[in-house]
Every structure is written in C-alpha cells, then in structure tokens.
Symmetry: C2
Subunit: 223 residues, 2 copies
C-alpha cells in the first residue's frame, strides 16, 4: 500500500524522479533546491525525513536516490498530473501550455477511485498533451517514440508531440489548419510524387500538407 504523504513530500519525490531521469544517478542537494525553488538547508531537512520513511536512499554529502516505495509514489503523482492535463486539454479546451500550473494542484488530490474513473472517462490515454508517457496504474512507463510525420506510412495514427521548427509562418499555418500539440493526426493518403500527405486532424477536418511540413511534425504513434 502507498503511504499517505504530504503535498510537500510528494513534490520532493517527484522532483527527485525528474532530476534523476536522465542518468538514474543520485540527485544532489543544490539542484534539488533549485528545482524546488527553496534552499539547500530545507532540502537537507526533507532528505532526512524521506530517508527515515524509506522513500529515498540518502548518504550524507552523496545525494538522494528513489527507493522502490518512493518511486512508486512519484510515479503515481506523475500519473495523476498527466491524466489531469489530458482532461484539461481534451475536455475543457485548454491549450497544452496552459495546463501545467493547474495540474500541479490537481495531482495531489487523494482518491484512488477518482483516478480510475478519470482514466476511464478519458479513454485510458497513454500520453499527455506534451507527448510525455502516462505511467499506468502499476507505475509502468512506456517510453514514447517520437518521429517526423513524414516517416510513417499511410494509415498511421499518431499524436503531435513536438514541432521541430519555430518559424512563425509555419506556426501560423498550423494554427490555421487547427493543428496543435496533442492533435490526433491520421495519414489518409501519401503522394509518392512529392511526399505531400493528406491528413485528418482530430477526426474532424482533412488537409494536405507538404513533405517539408511533415518533416517538422514530430508525432508518436497511438495504440
């Protein structure tokens, strides 16, 4: 059973998870303090506390690593965060860049049934509007593979997770076509001649885009 943690404890565990992600090495006090917007002294106090609860491994001057229970808690909070982000974007029409702050609050709501029902309501999504994977109920994270839309065959269905070019005219064009991060894109047809493709956006409208544009749209395959 997951032990009940304070909001602050949850946030520390989450920060350790994110910071140790790229390397799975131990996280040092200063970087944790910076990412939590607090002082190294405060971090130090909390490390002792989390260590006593067997949520993290902590050796003086050596930084912190998540222990199994701590990782489980961190992943559960991240799962909630990302599910709420999907809710905010898909149901309440928020833009993908407006949801983080709100999800930071919603992620701490404690109710296992609520998470289950929300997950069902959203159709068991596997990635959030930023293209990050949503851990499943057991804390298992499937890594998301991102690649340019141009590389997928006809019939592929994916979600737009990144635009690898910030040319304003491109962004404006995408805006006009109602394509945004999180949009569901299906390749309806490929033109062999010039590589241009016909795509259906969020199951509503269909447009042609050039191969050059398709190269800039990083998607992740759904299902």
């Amino acid at each position: 059973m997951i032990q009940s943690l304070s909001l602050t404890e949850e946030n520390y565990l989450k920060a350790i998870y994110h910071l140790s992600k790229n390397g799975s090495e131990s996280v040092n006090t200063n970087s944790l303090a910076e990412s939590m917007n607090t002082t190294p002294a405060s971090v130090n106090d909390m490390m002792k506390k989390l260590s006593n609860k067997s949520l993290i491994g902590y050796k003086k001057y050596k930084g912190a690593t998540l222990l199994p229970d701590g990782e489980k808690s961190a992943l559960h909070v991240i799962r909630k965060h990302r599910l709420w982000e999907v809710f905010l974007v898909q149901k309440l029409n928020f833009k993908w860049d407006e949801v983080h702050e709100i999800a930071e609050q919603l992620e701490h709501i404690k109710s296992p049934i609520l998470v289950k029902r929300l997950d069902e309501f959203l159709g068991h999504p596997t990635i959030d509007p930023h293209g990050d994977p949503i851990p499943d109920e057991n804390g298992i994270v499937k890594e998301v593979v991102k690649a340019p839309l141009s590389e997928f065959p006809q019939g592929s269905i994916g979600m737009l997770v990144n635009v690898s070019n910030d040319d304003p005219s491109l962004l404006q064009h995408l805006d006009k076509l109602k394509i945004s991060l999180g949009s569901k894109i299906e390749i309806v047809e490929r033109m062999e001649f010039d590589g241009s493709i016909s795509i259906s956006i969020d199951n509503t409208n269909t447009h042609f885009i050039s191969n050059d544009i398709a190269k800039c749209l990083l998607i992740t395959i759904l299902d």
Copy 2:
C-alpha cells in the same frame, strides 16, 4: 479581488457560512469547533486571524459573523465544491453520496479559468447532485424550491433532489428504473384517472409511476 487564503482559512469560512445559514446569527466557538473537528482553542486562534483580515466580524465571547469579503470567499469555495460534485456525478458516474469527500479536496484548487471552463463544460448547472444551489460567479445564490413530482404539470422538467420515504422496496424500485438523486426527470404524460404519470429519465428511458410514488419524489424545476 478575492484575497488568496489558506486551505484552512477557506474551510473555516465555509463552516461559518453553513452554520450561520439557518438564522444568519453569529456562530459560536464550540459549534464551530465541533463542525471542524477541532478544539475551541484552535477556533479561537483562527477567529482572531480571520478578524484581522476583515473576513469575519468577531467580538470576544460573542461569536463570529461573515463580513462581505469572507462571505464572498465562502461562496466561491462552495461554488467550486458544487460544480465539482456535478462533474463527478454527471461525467465520472459517481453516485451522489460518494462525491462529498473528493469535492472537499477539489474545492480548494485555485484557478479562476478552471472554474469558468468547468462551468461551461457542465452547461452552467444551477444545482448540485444533492439539490443544493450553485452560487453564480458573483456569489449569488438562487434558493432551490423543492416539491413532490406529483404537483407539477405535464411537460415539467426537474431534477430529483430528495426521496421523502426510505421504504426499501421503494428505493429498490427506483433503482430498477435507474432513478437516482440528480436524475433529470420530465413529465411526459399525466393520467387524470389515477394521477399516475409517465416520466422520461435522463432523456433515456421512459416509465410509468404511480401517484403514490410521485408524491415521494421531491424535485426542483430546471431552467
């Protein structure tokens, strides 16, 4: 502008609002302590604090009353609580008696846009699943008028807010007809002969019920 309050402060204001409801007199320390599950001493400390912030009027030994700012804050929290309850019941399929605890947490999420979007998403509901009115964005509460279904004319549309009889066989019958608190009920046809009526439930199925049953179903008119 509503000043930003701590979770605890919000809960105290809400409790004062609910306790002073039936009478609008000042709320005494002991009853507040009981309803907040805390001690009179703690209540006293908080009363001083809220009084310093001009949220409540407080005279030693004389209890507390909400001042305009305090009432505004209380109503805003209650608005959020009830909107979330509607969400939980209508969108996530919770039963009306399962949502209170969760809404107690959700009501403290701070984001004006979120409340606005949630309200839109739910179609600007005016009552929650328990039949209590949802204060509008300006804190105005429209009192809900409840009356037995048997008293309304053909064509009336209302929401079931109370069952004034707890006979198990009645409750089981209602369960079979998929009628529960919060259900939207439309009077399709009245039989003058015996007062039995044909009702449509949640726009899905239609059933006949006797006048005796209709007398037990307290509804509030929608729109």
